[in-house]
């Protein structure tokens, strides 16, 4: 089985986001591999380590030149090779799925791993859209995964709780917390990763164009009251807080 693991690059969670003009400006921001995608890379490695028949693990990223860094991280974690579809055009998940599905087809991938929710576009759409383009089933919000031959079993979160599932490969799985604890690349592996193949593709060959336009972006700021009470006298502090909640905010009876 060949596994395609999708890697996106997003601002580090602690980094400040800035808006310049009509869009978020990432200039000078620390960018990292999306934590949700890290679970996917880690899971591919674990499937192999735990004895599933994994022929190759290919990391894929679509985006500007800098996205290479995220692919190098995936390679340093242990992916075998990487494909970078280079473009400065931001693609919405539906358009992006067109690229992912084509790569999956030409690579002959049988399992695609992708993060359950993107930390930049806050979107959950990429896994499902890719599955639909390929005509494959999908398992979203997966926190336990086993592959035995062609059979996929595991557990994932649904609206009212969680479900155990069974399906047959090929399939798309979206990953999330609880699935595993991603490893840190070690220095020797970082060095080794430099020698691994990182193929460059041009977006043009995939014929994907954005379907959604960003018109404007605004930082969400909400003026907060910031009334901080010293807790040295717990009883007085408790009375004061309850008073504020009852009489000023009027949120409790």
């Amino acid at each position: 089985m060949k596994i395609l693991t999708l890697v996106r690059q997003v601002p580090d969670a602690e980094a400040r986001v800035r808006v310049q003009g009509t869009t978020v400006d990432l200039e000078g921001t620390t960018l990292v591999m999306d934590g949700m995608d890290e679970y996917g890379v880690e899971e591919a490695l674990r499937l192999r380590e735990n004895g599933a028949n994994v022929e190759e693990i290919v990391a894929l990223a679509v985006g500007p030149k800098r996205v290479e860094d995220a692919l190098r991280t995936a390679l340093a974690m242990g992916a075998d090779r990487a494909i970078h579809v280079e473009t400065d055009t931001p693609l919405d998940p539906i358009a992006l799925s067109q690229v992912v599905a084509q790569v999956a087809q030409t690579e002959g991938a049988q399992l695609i791993l992708v993060g359950g929710q993107e930390a930049d576009w806050d979107s959950q759409a990429l896994g499902a859209a890719t599955a639909e383009r390929l005509g494959w089933p999908q398992l979203t919000w997966t926190n336990e995964l086993n592959v035995d031959g062609d059979t996929l079993t595991g557990r994932h979160d649904v609206d009212e709780g969680n479900e155990s599932f069974q399906a047959t490969l090929p399939a798309v799985v979206t990953t999330q917390q609880g699935l595993n604890e991603p490893r840190y690349p070690t220095l020797p592996n970082i060095m080794k990763a430099k020698k691994k193949e990182l193929r460059k593709d041009d977006l043009g060959q995939y014929g994907a164009t954005p379907k959604v336009r960003v018109v404007s972006a605004e930082i969400q700021t909400r003026a907060r009251l910031n009334k901080v009470i010293d807790g040295k006298d717990p009883q007085a502090a408790a009375q004061e807080l309850l008073g504020l909640l009852r009489n000023e905010a009027k949120v409790i009876a």
């Binding site: 978020v24 979107s123 930082i219 901080v228």
Partner: protein, 316 residues
């Protein structure tokens, strides 16, 4: 027509369906507001939907007894095509956001995900949505003969009954076979107000110290003021609380009137799930904790002394 796929649980129409009716009305697009009810034994749900919609399409089908992404996508697409829907609204629940992208791909339509507002702009449809862990509000726009939208729960008022019941029609569907088998299911229940519907939420973080303290302090305070209970990921990872209580990027999004964070540091991934709460209250011994930056009210102090004092004062 504008097609809304009904969300329902336990034989009742979900509030999110009523919210989607308001979203459809606010969009200002032409055509009847049509609600599609997928499921088995859904007559009562269809009747409820008829109170708010121009027409209701009912697909009462044994194969639809359980939600399944591929079936829901196939059914929605078929009805959208037959009814020549130009706008398709799907709930922004976990399941809705799971099959909506499939519908968009099937129809070769743009997808506006997790919309918090909706407005026609000439031939385009414009929506607002939160991005970057809910720190940014983006306005996005798409054009197309058909646009698929998922609507973030809690973003629109629930539509009120119009007084005139919409017509109901039964529909036939060509459904694919389900390829994902569900082999077991755990439904996470709580005896308290469900997290997503609570007016007040008390959330405990690692600062609470132990599962026993969580019960006495966080649940104790929640019970004293009639609130729902939430938890941070640190607490869920430690196995103190069930995942169903987790608030944040990978947990639930809540927007109560008051959110009381007890021993919570206020990491961005946590804030992304509760940052839109009307009032935020923080109780933390570290005056520099990031949670205080977004708090309306706060007490700097040890939860072990502050929270018992709060419980006692609230009970009086």
């Amino acid at each position: 027509m504008i097609l809304i796929v009904a969300e329902h649980t336990n034989g009742k129409l979900s509030k999110s369906t009523l919210e989607m009716v308001s979203a459809a009305r606010s969009a200002g697009r032409e055509g009847p507001i049509t609600v599609l009810v997928l499921g088995q034994g859904v007559a009562a749900i269809a009747n409820e939907a008829a109170q708010v919609a121009d027409q209701v399409l009912v697909a009462d089908h044994a194969a639809l007894a359980q939600y399944n992404a591929e079936l829901w996508a196939a059914a929605t697409t078929q009805i959208a095509q037959e009814g020549e829907a130009h706008t398709i609204l799907i709930g922004g629940s976990r399941s809705g956001r799971e099959y909506a992208p499939r519908v968009a791909v099937k129809l070769d339509a743009p997808y506006l995900e997790d919309a918090i507002s909706l407005q026609a702009q000439g031939a385009a449809l414009r929506a607002q949505r939160y991005t970057y862990l809910a720190r940014v509000t983006e306005t996005v726009e798409a054009e197309g003969a058909v646009v698929v939208v998922s609507v973030k729960p809690g973003s629109f008022p629930a539509a009120e009954a119009t007084g005139a019941a919409g017509e109901q029609y039964d529909v036939d569907l060509d459904l694919p076979a389900a390829r994902v088998q569900v082999t077991g299911k755990t439904v996470e229940k709580t005896s308290r107000v469900p997290l997503g519907e609570a007016d007040v939420v008390v959330t405990g973080g690692r600062g609470v110290g132990s599962p026993e303290n969580f019960s006495s302090l966080v649940e104790g305070l929640a019970d004293a003021i009639g609130a729902g209970v939430g938890a941070t990921r640190a607490v869920v990872d430690a196995g103190w609380r069930p995942y169903a209580e987790q608030v944040g990027q990978t947990g639930k999004t809540v927007q109560p009137k008051a959110y009381i964070a007890v021993g919570v540091s206020g990491a961005v991934q946590h804030l992304s799930g509760m940052g839109k709460s009307k009032y935020i209250v923080a109780i933390n011994k570290d005056a520099e904790a990031p949670i205080f930056k977004v708090a309306d009210y706060g007490i700097v102090g040890d939860v072990n002394v502050i929270v018992p004092a709060l419980i006692e004062a609230a009970r009086k």
